[in-house]
Each structure stands twice: as structure tokens, then as C-alpha cells.
């Protein structure tokens, strides 16, 4: 056994070095981000969502400025310029919009340029003209307005009908909730197609009846989401506190609960929009859309389809705009959902 002194002789003073506190770090403090700023950051990082937003802005701009830019309007007919292919004056040698158009008769391609044949090279019809000589560019963008109007209506219905329905049903609970939920259940068991078709058969086809049809069908999803969220929140301490302080029910619903579920509401709104646009386009396609000479993307597609093998460009442009619009709203809705609720990311 060594004594303490012998131990000490084995140890040199140099063996001991003051510790360098290199492992000691100070936590980096991040500045607190507000919920909205956080969501915005996530949204901007999502390439699909930003693409969607940019496309929507572009389409909205074109819907309002497009007809004026073309110099035509959606209703002026010109029987001397029927079914003209896409053409921009001065682009005769360009690969697109040159006015050159290939028609297939029994599988044989026949190339021709109607513009030079008719000697109207200085006339511009970017998307061509329809069977009545109306400028398709002006008609397409005027038709886009209908889709945008429908999108706006969908948002209004969602917030006013769906949201209020869900808030009231969720907050009050009890018999009222039971009653309201049976209405929702029955309405959601009837297929939308059936409701919409019947309604338009009874009413005259037009914007009013489309609006009413959307009013009956489009708020159900929103009311479900709002109700579920309200049920979750109404038991929370901050709601209890407000109630103890004597805040009115109205104020609790709209000032305490609503701001906390706003993210979900926006997401749900965005999800309804493509549905609403699709419903309108679908109705127009089966001949229940807005009556001529007004146009919507759906009715343009429906008209163009009738001569699709002869003049495919009549379908091509409205379909492309509709598809882009639907895609953009879908991408933006997905982006918003991820931004507001990162936990849902994988859905």
C-alpha cells in the first residue's frame, strides 16, 4: 500500500492544467417570431405555393386587363373571320402564333395560313377566333372572370355561412349542436351533383343560380373544421377566464376563439375555391352554365369541344387557363396548410 506521500511524489505539478472551458457554450437566443411571421416564412420557402400565388396574380391581372389589351370584346361577331387560328401580326415566320395551322383530314396533315390567304396579315388574334368570329383571347379572359367571381363567392360563403355555422354549433353544443349536425349530415349525404343539377333545372341557368348552388353545397367542409376546432378550444383556460370576467358570448366566440383558428379557416377557404371553380366549369360543360353571349371557361371548353378535331386551338387555351388556375389554387392551398400547420406537412 502506498501512502499519500508516495502518491504525491508520482504526480507532478505540470500534470495539472487549468481547464479550458471550450465545451462551455452559451445558448443562442432567437428572437421570438409571431405566428404570422413564422407562417409567412414557411410559405415563402415553399416553391410550389409561391408559383401558385404568382400564377394567380398573373391570371387575375389578365382577367381584368386581357380583353382591353386585345382590342376586342367578348361579344362582337365578325363573320368574315371565323375559326381563325392563333396569330400575332408580324409573327408570320415565328414557330407559334404565326397563323399557320395544320388540319388533319383522314389522318393527312394539310398546312395552310388562312391569314395570308385572306390577306389579313395585320389582324391579331392571339388565341384565334371562334365559330362566330369572336376573339378567343378576349373571350377566354372574360370567361376567367366568371371563375374568379365563383372563387370569391366560395370564400364569402365559407366565411359567412360555414364558419358561423361551425362556431355556433361547436360553442353552444347541446340540443342546438345536435340539430345543426343532423342538417349537415343529411346535406352531405346528398351528392353535390344532384343538388346543383336540380337547382339549375328549376332556376334559369346563370350566375345567380350558380351562386345559390354553391351556397347550398360549399360550406359544409368549413363548418366541420370550425366546429371541431371550436370544440377543442372552448374548454381551454383562456376561454374560461374570459367567461369568468363576464365577457359576452358573442365576444368570446369572435374575439377569443376565432383568432385562434384563423389559420385553419384560411386553409379551408383555399381548399374550397378549386371545388367551386370546378363546379362552375362542370355545370357549363353539361350545358347549365351562363347563357351566351357571356362566356365562362367551362362554356368555352364545351363549345370548343364540339369542333375539337377541326379546331383544337379553341379548346386548348381555355383548358390551359382553367387547368393552371385549378393547379395554382391547389398548390397555394397546400402551401398555406403547411405554413399554418407544419405538423400536417406529410398529409
Amino acid at each position: 500500500m502506498m501512502t499519500a506521500k508516495e502518491y504525491a511524489s508520482l504526480v507532478e505539478r505540470e500534470d495539472f492544467v487549468p481547464a479550458q472551458n471550450r465545451d462551455l457554450g452559451i445558448d443562442k437566443v432567437y428572437s421570438a417570431q409571431s405566428f404570422w411571421k413564422d407562417a409567412l416564412g414557411r410559405f415563402v420557402k415553399n416553391r410550389g405555393a409561391v408559383f401558385g400565388l404568382v400564377m394567380i396574380v398573373l391570371i387575375v391581372f389578365m382577367a381584368f386587363a386581357g380583353p382591353a389589351l386585345s382590342g376586342y370584346n367578348y361579344r362582337t361577331q365578325d363573320m368574315s373571320q371565323r375559326n381563325l387560328p392563333p396569330h400575332i401580326a408580324g409573327w408570320e415566320s415565328a414557330p407559334v402564333f404565326s397563323g399557320v395551322y395544320t388540319q388533319y383530314v383522314n389522318g393527312e396533315p394539310i398546312r395552310s395560313n388562312v391569314y395570308t390567304q385572306k390577306g389579313i396579315e395585320d389582324v391579331t388574334h392571339i388565341f384565334g377566333t371562334d365559330a362566330l368570329g369572336r376573339d378567343q383571347f378576349a373571350r377566354t379572359w372574360t370567361g376567367t372572370r366568371v371563375s374568379l367571381y365563383v372563387a370569391l363567392v366560395a370564400i364569402l360563403i365559407d366565411t359567412f355561412v360555414g364558419m358561423s355555422f361551425g362556431l355556433v354549433s361547436g360553442y353552444y353544443g347541446g340540443k342546438l349542436d345536435f340539430f345543426l349536425q343532423r342538417i349537415v349530415e343529411i346535406l352531405s349525404t346528398i351528392p353535390t351533383t344532384v343538388i346543383v343539377t336540380l337547382l339549375i333545372v328549376v332556376m334559369k341557368p346563370g350566375l345567380t343560380s350558380i351562386t345559390v348552388a354553391l351556397m347550398i353545397t360549399e360550406w359544409i367542409g368549413m363548418s366541420r373544421v370550425t366546429r371541431a376546432q371550436t370544440l377543442r378550444l372552448k374548454e381551454r383556460e383562456f376561454v374560461l377566464a374570459s367567461r369568468t370576467l363576464g365577457e359576452s358570448t358573442f365576444s368570446i366566440i369572435f374575439r377569443e376563439i376565432l383568432p385562434n383558428i384563423f389559420g385553419q379557416i384560411i386553409v379551408m377557404c383555399m381548399m374550397t375555391i378549386p371545388n367551386a371553380i370546378f363546379t362552375e366549369a362542370f355545370l357549363a360543360f353539361i350545358g347549365l352554365g351562363i347563357p351566351a353571349p357571356l362566356a365562362s371557361l367551362g362554356s368555352l371548353i364545351s363549345d370548343g369541344f364540339k369542333s375539337m378535331t377541326m379546331y383544337p386551338f379553341l379548346v386548348l387555351f381555355p383548358v390551359t387557363v382553367l387547368a393552371l388556375l385549378m393547379l395554382s389554387f391547389n398548390l397555394m392551398a397546400d402551401g398555406l396548410r403547411d405554413a399554418f400547420d407544419p405538423k400536417m406537412k406529410e398529409m
Binding site: 346528398i190 351528392p191 343539377t197 328549376v202
Partner: protein, 313 residues
């Protein structure tokens, strides 16, 4: 479980009754009467009304109407095929629609599942991105975009498949309609399958099964897929809706003699009886699918059933 099923059935029955009531009201609010021939005297009219039960009070008429509709007697068509019983008009067409619908769901589910599983296995790879893009497009584009594109390029330009439906060549005629209708199902199922597979693959029981050394095929098929499949049942209901609206348009594009195109022409020719009959058939089909899905869901996963009972009471 019994209470849950009973409640679902009850709601479905009430819905059918409401739909019938709405249709009945619509029939009655239509202008004109079936006997508006000027040559008919008041006595003859009274006799005719007595013969068809139109002199009875409204509730009795409604009950008669219920009996007739539920036994499949939808009256006769006035415009499309004069005096043709609608029931036989429907019978000839419904099989075509169902065939294409079933084919579309089968194809869509199969390819969607494959895409979802592959995307979940090879996360963040090229295949995953591809599957995501396809499913975003499939959900976003209406089915008639695909239908028109295919009918123009494959049907018209290349001439590979018949442009319009022909009964003589039914099998080949249904290829393009089936594919365009299946895009939505495919996209939805692919999305769901991917999400579920990702979640299941990360779970503890999969880790355990893997560490026990079972083959990867068994791991994926028996342990993974089975658990991932449960929530996919939920998308069946939205799929039926999409199929119905989709079929209206797609049948129109390919000139398929199904009930969708029947409804469209009935609307265009103002043949009210046919419209109401098709709407009724659609509603019955939809409500039955919803009922089956709801019950099936409760059977497969007891947690859902309990949660649903909680939420609705």
C-alpha cells in the same frame, strides 16, 4: 356497434325520404298538367285524374309516389324516347356506367397504391417527386382535361383507340374513359398511401418486426401495407362523388350511352321525368356507398367508431 350502424342506416333512410320529397315537390311545381289537351272535357279530365290518383290529397299522392319510385317505376320519358318506360331506359344504360366506374376505381386504386408505396419507400428520390407531381396534377385537373387530351391525341391523331364509344368494340372503347376517370382516384389514393406508409414505416412495431429478421416482402406486405390500408377506406366516399360528376362529362366526351350522358341530354331536352329518375338513382347509389363506407370503417377500426360517436353526441 349496433347503435352506430342503426344511426347510419336511419340517417340514410331520412335522406332518401328528403330527396324523394324534394323531387315530388318539383314534379308538382312544374307548370302544366299531363292532361292539357284542349279537347278533354271537364268530366273526362276528372276521370283521368281519378284513374291516375291525382284527385287524392297530396299526402296520399306522395305515398303512392314513394311506392312507385322505390319499386323502380319511374314513369315514362316524354322527349328522349316518347312513352318509353324510364326504368328500361335506365336498365340498358346503367351497366355501361357501372362498368366504367368500377374499372376506373380498380385501376386508380391499384396504380395509386403502387405509386404511394414506392414514393414512401424511396423518399425524396426522383420517384417520390414524380409521384407527388402526378398526384397534384391528378387532383387539380378536372377529369375532362385528361379525357379531351387523350381523345384528341390518342383517339384522333394516332387513331389507336376508338374516338367514340361503340357497343361492338366495348372493351377497347372503355380504355380511354377508364383512364381519364381513374386519374383522380389514382392521385388521391397515392397521396394517402404515401402518408400512411411513411407513418407506418416509422412506427415501433415495424422496427421490431424488422429486427426479428423477417423478409422485407413479409415486412412490407403483412405488417406495413395492412396497417396503412385502413385509412384509405375513407377516400372511397369522395371518390364516388368524383366518379359521378366525372362520368357525366367523360360520358359526354366519348359519347358513351351511360346514365351520365342520359342525364345531360335529359337536362338539355327538358325531359323532367328522366332528370328526376336519374337524380334519384344517383342519390341511391351515392347514399349506399356512403353507408357501406361508414359501416366498413367502423368495423375495421373501432377507434374511429368511438371517436365518431363521441363527436356527434
Amino acid at each position: 356497434m349496433f347503435k352506430y350502424v342503426l344511426k347510419r342506416v336511419l340517417i340514410s333512410v331520412v335522406t332518401v325520404l328528403i330527396i324523394l320529397a324534394v323531387l315530388f315537390t318539383m314534379l308538382h311545381s312544374m307548370p302544366g298538367s299531363p292532361f292539357n289537351d284542349e279537347k278533354i272535357t271537364a268530366v273526362q279530365r276528372a276521370n283521368l285524374e281519378a284513374k291516375y290518383g291525382l284527385d287524392k290529397p297530396l299526402p296520399v299522392q306522395f305515398v303512392n309516389y314513394l311506392k312507385a319510385m322505390l319499386s323502380g317505376d319511374f314513369g315514362v320519358s316524354y322527349v328522349i324516347q316518347k312513352n318509353m318506360p324510364i326504368a328500361s331506359l335506365l336498365r340498358a344504360r346503367i351497366m355501361v356506367s357501372i362498368r366504367i366506374g368500377v374499372q376506373a376505381v380498380a385501376l386508380g386504386t391499384l396504380i395509386g397504391l403502387l405509386m404511394g408505396i414506392v414514393a414512401a419507400m424511396k423518399r425524396n428520390s426522383f420517384l417520390d417527386t414524380f409521384a407527388t407531381v402526378v398526384s397534384v396534377i391528378g387532383v387539380a385537373f378536372p377529369s375532362y382535361v385528361f379525357a379531351m387530351a387523350m381523345s384528341y391525341f390518342i383517339g384522333f391523331r394516332l387513331g389507336w383507340l376508338p374516338l367514340l364509344y361503340s357497343t361492338a368494340d366495348a372493351a377497347r372503347s372503355t380504355v380511354m374513359p377508364t383512364i381519364s376517370l381513374s386519374m383522380f382516384s389514382m392521385a388521391t389514393v397515392a397521396r394517402f398511401a404515401r402518408t400512411e406508409m411513411v407513418e407506418v414505416m416509422g412506427s415501433d412495431y415495424m422496427l421490431l418486426a424488422d429486427s426479428k429478421g423477417i423478409s422485407s416482402f413479409r415486412l412490407l406486405g403483412v405488417h406495413g401495407l395492412r396497417n396503412a390500408l385502413i385509412p384509405i377506406v375513407t377516400v372511397l366516399a369522395p371518390l364516388t362523388v368524383e366518379l359521378m360528376t366525372g362520368s357525366l362529362v367523360v360520358e359526354q366526351i366519348f359519347a358513351i350511352p351511360g346514365i351520365g350522358s342520359l342525364l345531360v341530354s335529359a337536362i338539355q331536352f327538358n325531359d323532367y321525368n328522366v332528370v328526376l329518375a336519374v337524380v334519384f338513382v344517383y342519390s341511391i347509389m351515392f347514399i349506399s356507398v356512403m353507408l357501406i363506407v361508414d359501416i366498413l370503417y367502423g368495423v375495421i377500426d373501432p377507434r374511429i367508431r368511438l371517436a365518431k360517436e363521441d363527436a356527434s353526441t
